[in-house]
Amino acid sequence: MTALALEHIHKSFPSAEGPVPVLRGVSMTLAPGTAHALTGESGSGKSTLLHIAAGLETADAGDVRVAGTALGALDEAGRAALRRGRVGLVFQQFNLIPSLNVAANLAFQARLAGRYDAGFVAHLTARLGLDGLGARYPEQLSGGQVQRVAIGRCLAARPELVLADEPTGNLDEATGDRVLDLMLELTAEAGAALLLVTHSPRLAARCDTRHHLRAGLLEDTA
């Protein structure tokens, strides 16, 4: 079974001069345990595609299947439930809940999904180098630490699909590389599929498959 299947996705946004097409028939398939990179120029529609995959936005046409479930058949509540149980999201910023401390943030999605496992969370915490930070609040963390907590929180819920939108975009190169390493390692360990949006060809090169978005269409490279 595939973790994510996109078929002929179309999406345009309204503007003063009429609808502007952003995605014009995008298809891709992610098998469990594989890592995919998505690159493209700024404004090419990478985030839009990711949002559609997560059910945060709906496509104008085309099919989206997450772990075998077609999003088109779901309403907002159904999509939210799917996100809760099967998808992990990591964004460039505003990932953490500012009013909860690190420990609560780490456990949050897993508890929401009813899949909380203290041992697993402890394991992730250690792996992510977050030991001793549990009582801190997000704004008391460095950028790299924040992103590691976001990754830990997403993986703690054992999702089948991880969607990451420039998760290291705000970090310096060395820190970004370390965080990404961890992310690749841990998603592979968990057997989840990863779709990683990035501007960096160097980071993209470390994934199994690369997709390049141009003029609303994918140009795939192995």
Partner: protein
């Protein structure tokens, strides 16, 4: 450059019209409530001044007989002795459709004043029977036999006529009192030799409307101020929001090299323009509000104090300017913080909501300290109750401010307890998040708490008063029928008839008197079971009724008892023309602004032989037959006879009127507080997107989030109401035990009405829901589109 700055500034408001509306509405409402109340006060005070200027410009002394009237010869006698005095006759008479106070003057001898000036316009006509009345009185009278002309110089409810006309209409040849011209020839025989039985009343006394009604106006002012403060909460949150949202723009403008001075100037100019626009709208609104309330205020003042206040409002630039001044000052206070933050804005500051929260946690500790200090001040003031009305209000202000400041501290504590006890992840987040956002809501919640406490406090006070008043009326109004004789002759004719036809005739006689330096009256009381069995007494001496009947002492009303600090059994009270009598006890006398003393009927008749019977209270088994007989055999008009039910109705009507204004202001204050909460929630909604977006990404629907936002508002509202309850009861207790005693002279027991609280809780819940529903609805409806932006943008 300045132009470009302004364009940038204004573009913000153009894109945030709701916020602009909120800011203007807040300012306009604050101005309206404040200036409306001031308009009422100004109008009433102008009416008192009119009343006092009618008989004399500079205030003339008066000569009175203890019986309240004298023969006209006394005037002639004093003129012969060289004294420049002038006769005045006052009395109630039916005229046209209504009952008015006739004021008869003698224009040739009267000292300079508004009344004589009117008469001088057409002296012949005046002496021949022309009169003057306020236009409103003229409308109430309709058509009458008198030729009446309109004049604003005559107090409402009065008609100014020549003394001869007044005597004719009142069917008497006597006069009420004499005015003494301030300028007298030298070398006259002193008054106490020429007329030893006449009492000289210095100018200004006797007609102390200003003093009597002061507490009423102070009450109004306090309410106006409260509403104004609550209105400022709205302005504060709107200005604060506009600042938060434009933080990025300010930063960019600064980075582009715009001097801080120009930015400051632009902000100040912007607020000034808003203040002027909203202030003008508020004045109009305030005038409308005051016009709507004026008839009730006038009725209250007439009912409670007999103050002649017109029911219509005149525009007065004085309160308009004062209102605008308050608006500008209020805007400066509300906007000051924004300016302060502008000056301290780091050119590159990341948005850190928790840093904000932590800074305000330090602020919270300071706030708790101030609250504690103010609470102590209130406690000290409460333990020393002899400070007077101003001290009473100071106590209220300190206690309310302390309670308001304590609100965020207590709410924060309550929320953190809830957070620690919460089990599920969502519940945990709910409480933690509520606590984090508390600082941004705390001003609005403080306003809500004040409004709720005011509602509970004033509501409890009114309800307690009402319950006590009804019980008291039942005891007081035991006479089945009351008859008002038109004059002394009719009274004399009625008395034997009544004695034969009823179980008891209780004549009511009184004289006006100054008691312990206060304007007051002395009443006669016939010894009868009606009084012995029914009158509740405060601190009576043993055998109080027997001693009173024997003429051994005097009863005083609660007002006099408290104001003069009389101690029954130990103190004596001086009455006109008598040796001081021992005080035997005090009786409640709600709604009466005057001091009152009661002595036995025989003693009264000995001391004041000329005083006429003003009313007969009658005990009978068959009131209907008695009323019919009085109408048939004596031709008494319906207005001269009241039965028990009518009397009660009349008293209750006066009571209800007293609190119409209070209730109206109560509702207004609560509405303004709901608006303040709305403004704060709209503010918050804009800033919360980045806080809510992660939850949405984690699998909560916008609908669920919107529901949680509503629930949060309700929970905060409920907790605020919980805090408002004790504050409201404290307020009621202070009103009943301190303010009422100081202002009115009576003390009432506190009674609790939980049913009213339930009703208030319902209203408050609706208000909170109304305030929270628009932001929640927006989140629900355009949730995804909005929330996506939460990831994309920094605020």
């Amino acid at each position: 450059m300045t132009r470009a700055t302004f364009v940038a500034f204004l573009s913000h408001w153009w894109r945030n019209k709701l916020q602009l509306a909120m800011l203007l509405a807040g300012l306009a409402l604050a101005t309206a409530l404040w200036s409306g109340v001031q308009a009422l006060n100004t109008e009433a005070r102008a009416a008192y001044a009119t009343a006092e200027a009618l008989l004399s410009e500079d205030g003339a002394a008066q000569l009175e007989h203890p019986s309240g009237q004298m023969a006209q010869d006394r005037f002639v006698e004093l003129r012969r002795a060289g004294w420049l005095v002038s006769p005045v006759l006052e009395g109630r008479a039916d005229l046209g459709e209504t009952r008015v106070t006739l004021i008869g003057i003698e224009p040739l001898t009267a000292p300079p004043g508004a009344g004589p000036a009117l008469a001088a316009q057409d002296l012949e006509g005046f002496v021949a029977g022309t009169g003057f009345a306020h236009p409103q009185t003229l409308r109430e009278i309709g058509t009458s036999a008198l030729d009446l002309r309109p004049s604003n110089a005559v107090p409402v409810g009065s008609v100014l006529v020549d003394i001869g006309t007044a005597q004719r209409l009142l069917e008497t040849d006597r006069i009420s009192h004499l005015t003494v011209n301030p300028d007298q020839p030298a070398g006259l025989r002193p008054l106490n030799e020429v007329a030893p039985d006449l009492r000289r009343i210095p100018p200004g006394e006797g007609a102390e409307l200003g003093g009597l009604t002061e507490s009423f106006h102070l009450n109004l002012t306090a309410f106006g101020l409260l509403s104004f403060a609550v209105g400022l909460f709205i302005v504060h949150s709107a200005v604060g929001l506009a600042f938060e949202q434009r933080r990025g723009m300010f930063r960019t403008l600064r980075a582009l090299g715009l001097p801080l001075r120009v930015l400051t100037l632009a902000l100040v100019a912007e607020m000034l323009v808003f203040a002027l626009i909203a202030g003008a709208a508020g004045l109009v609104l305030g005038h409308v509000l005051a016009s709507l309330l004026m008839p009730d205020v006038a009725l209250t003042l007439r009912g409670l104090y007999g103050a002649p206040v017109p029911g219509a409002l005149q525009f007065n630039p004085q309160w308009a300017l004062a209102g605008l001044g308050m608006t500008l000052a209020g805007t400066a206070i509300a906007g000051g913080q924004a300016l302060w933050r502008l000056w301290h804005l780091p050119v590159l500051a990341p948005a850190r909501p928790r840093a904000w929260a932590q800074a305000s946690r330090r602020g919270l500790r300071v706030q708790a300290g101030i609250a504690l200090a103010l609470g102590l001040v209130a406690l000290i003031l409460a333990l020393r109750p002899e400070g007077g009305l101003v001290a009473g209000f100071a106590l209220l202000a300190a206690a309310l401010l302390a309670a308001a400041l304590a609100v965020p501290v207590l709410l924060s504590a309550m929320l953190s307890v809830a957070e620690r006890r919460a089990r599920g992840p969502l519940a945990q987040w709910f409480w933690a998040d509520s606590r984090q956002n508390l600082p941004r809501l705390s001003l609005a919640l403080m306003a809500l708490m004040l409004a709720l406490a005011a509602n509970i406090g004033v509501g409890t006070m009114v309800a307690s008063f009402r319950a006590t008043f009804i019980d008291w009326l039942d005891l007081r109004l035991v006479a089945e029928v009351n008859v008002l004789p038109a004059n002394a002759e009719e009274a004399a004719r009625l008395e034997p008839f009544l004695a034969a036809r009823t179980d008891a005739v209780l004549p009511m006689l009184r004289i006006d008197a100054t008691l312990e330096g206060q304007p007051g009256q002395v009443y006669a009381m016939k010894d009868h079971a009606t009084f012995r069995d029914n009158w509740p007494l405060i601190a009576p001496v043993p055998q109080v009724w027997d001693r009173l009947a024997a003429g051994e002492g005097v009863l005083v009303n609660e007002q006099l008892y408290r104001r003069a600090g009389l101690d029954p059994g130990a103190d004596r009270l001086a009455l006109p023309g008598q040796d001081p009598l021992p005080v035997l006890g005090a009786y409640p006398d709600y709604g009466n602004p005057l001091a009152q003393a009661v002595i036995a009927l025989p003693r009264f008749q000995d001391a004041y032989p000329g005083a006429p019977v003003r009313q007969f209270a009658l005990r009978t088994d068959n009131p209907q037959a008695l009323i019919a007989a009085l109408q048939d055999e004596f031709g008494l008009s319906a207005a001269q006879i009241t039965d028990q039910a009518q009397a009660k109705e009349l008293s209750m009507a006066i009571f209800e009127r007293t609190f119409v204004i209070t209730r109206a202001l109560n509702v207004l204050t609560l509405s303004v507080a709901a608006l303040a909460l709305f403004a704060a929630l709209v503010t918050l909604a804009g800033m919360r997107l980045t806080q809510l977006a992660p939850l949405w990404a984690l699998g909560l629907t916008p609908r669920h989030l919107a529901g949680l936002e509503l629930a949060r508002a309700l929970v905060l509202g409920a907790l605020t109401l919980l805090l408002a309850l004790p504050v409201g009861l404290m307020l009621a207790q202070v009103l009943l035990a301190v303010i009422n005693v100081q202002a009115f002279g009576w003390r009432l027991p506190l009674q609790v009405f939980p049913g009213d609280w339930a009703r208030l809780a319902l209203w408050a819940g609706l208000a909170v829901l109304a305030a929270a529903s628009l932001p929640a609805l927006r989140l629900w409806r355009d949730g995804p589109a909005q929330l996506l932006r939460g990831f994309a943008h920094e605020r």
